[in-house]
């Protein structure tokens, strides 16, 4: 297990994207602007490499969109305006935290539904098991058991 972890972490160091993404330099008017920029590119998804956000991705589109976010912040637009700009062009998919509405209902509620089903199944399972364990032996069964034990006495001596 340990050796696997070491190999995996080595791969992380070999991945050039990690360094390339960190090299990009941008000048901000204030720390607040920089913080807002960082938050926004963390929240927005890269459309090309769909499991990365804009901050992590090194694709050309991600670079363009980072520049767009940077420009909009410098032009004095609010976070909401930047988000709206992206959503009107790329749809809700561009948001890593999509809004709660009819089309995303299952996305948000689905895991809880599955959790509840799982709990119901578990409770049902435990109840059934208890019932089986508790049943005591009837008089008939006790008699049979005694007989069996006595029968075997001679054989194991």
């Amino acid at each position: 297990m340990k050796s696997i972890m070491i190999i995996l972490s080595l791969f992380c160091f070999l991945n050039p994207n990690i360094y390339a993404a960190a090299v990009e330099m941008k000048k901000f008017e204030s720390d607040l602007h920089e913080q807002r920029y960082k938050n926004l590119i963390d929240e927005l998804r890269c459309l090309v490499c769909q499991n990365q956000n804009l901050a992590d991705s090194n694709s050309e589109l991600a670079q363009d969109l980072r520049n767009k976010v940077y420009k909009m912040i410098n032009d004095g637009q609010s976070d909401q305006e930047v988000m709206d700009f992206m959503v009107t062009r790329y749809g809700d998919f561009v948001l890593y935290r999509p809004p709660f509405k009819a089309s995303t209902f299952l996305l948000w509620i689905g895991p809880f539904i599955i959790l509840i089903i799982g709990l119901l199944v578990l409770v049902n399972f435990i109840r059934h098991r208890k019932r089986n364990v508790i049943t005591a032996l009837s008089n008939n069964e006790k008699e049979k058991l005694k007989q069996l034990l006595n029968d075997n006495k001679g054989k194991f001596k």
Binding site: L61, T88, R89, G91
Partner: protein, 178 residues
């Protein structure tokens, strides 16, 4: 009751398989476009073969037209290109190209080599119009109605099947709209 409990995991498994099978048939790169039914985004860009003149989508108002986003560096555009050449050869359509993030000379050379099906191509060297139109993977194809609203977006290369089943029928339908 006993039978029920034995069958339950099997049923759960079948449901899971069905869901996963449906998932496999879907292309995660094909996203619903937020533009459908809305007015096509504007841009104003130089025309590839006539850089002193500009093209803008509003010039196409009153016509049903296709915007095809392409680039000479885009490998799957090459597969699509022959399909587009045939489209304009056999059908009466207004096909406009958007040359996305490309070198002007590369783009011109590419068209003279593989044929030019476009009425004109707008040259979007910096990808500005690309962002306005929500382009995330070239090639992409949009169809606009006479009022200038986007009615279809197709992501990825257009195939002959798409032309026959989706694009030509839609264009015919839109031509009949006032």
């Amino acid at each position: 009751m006993k039978l029920n409990r034995a069958v339950l995991p099997l049923l759960a498994f079948i449901v899971l398989v069905v869901f996963l099978a449906i998932g496999l048939t879907k292309d995660p790169r094909k996203l619903p476009s937020p533009f459908i039914g809305k007015t096509a985004p504007e841009f104003n860009l130089p025309i590839l073969h006539k850089m002193e003149e500009n093209f803008s989508p509003k010039l196409m108002l009153g016509k049903v037209w296709i915007l095809n986003v392409w680039a000479s560096w885009c490998v799957s555009c090459r597969a699509e290109h022959q399909v587009l050449n045939n489209l304009v050869k056999y059908h009466q359509v207004n096909l406009v190209g958007l040359n996305y993030k490309d070198d002007i000379n590369d783009a011109r050379r590419w068209l003279s080599r593989y044929g030019d099906p476009y009425q004109l191509s707008a040259s979007d060297v910096d990808g500005i119009a690309g962002i306005e139109w929500g382009v995330y993977g070239v090639p992409e194809t949009f169809i606009m109605d006479k009022k200038g609203a986007v009615r279809l977006k197709h992501t990825g290369p257009v195939t002959n099947k798409d032309i026959k089943e989706k694009i030509v029928p839609l264009i015919k339908k839109l031509e009949n709209e006032s």
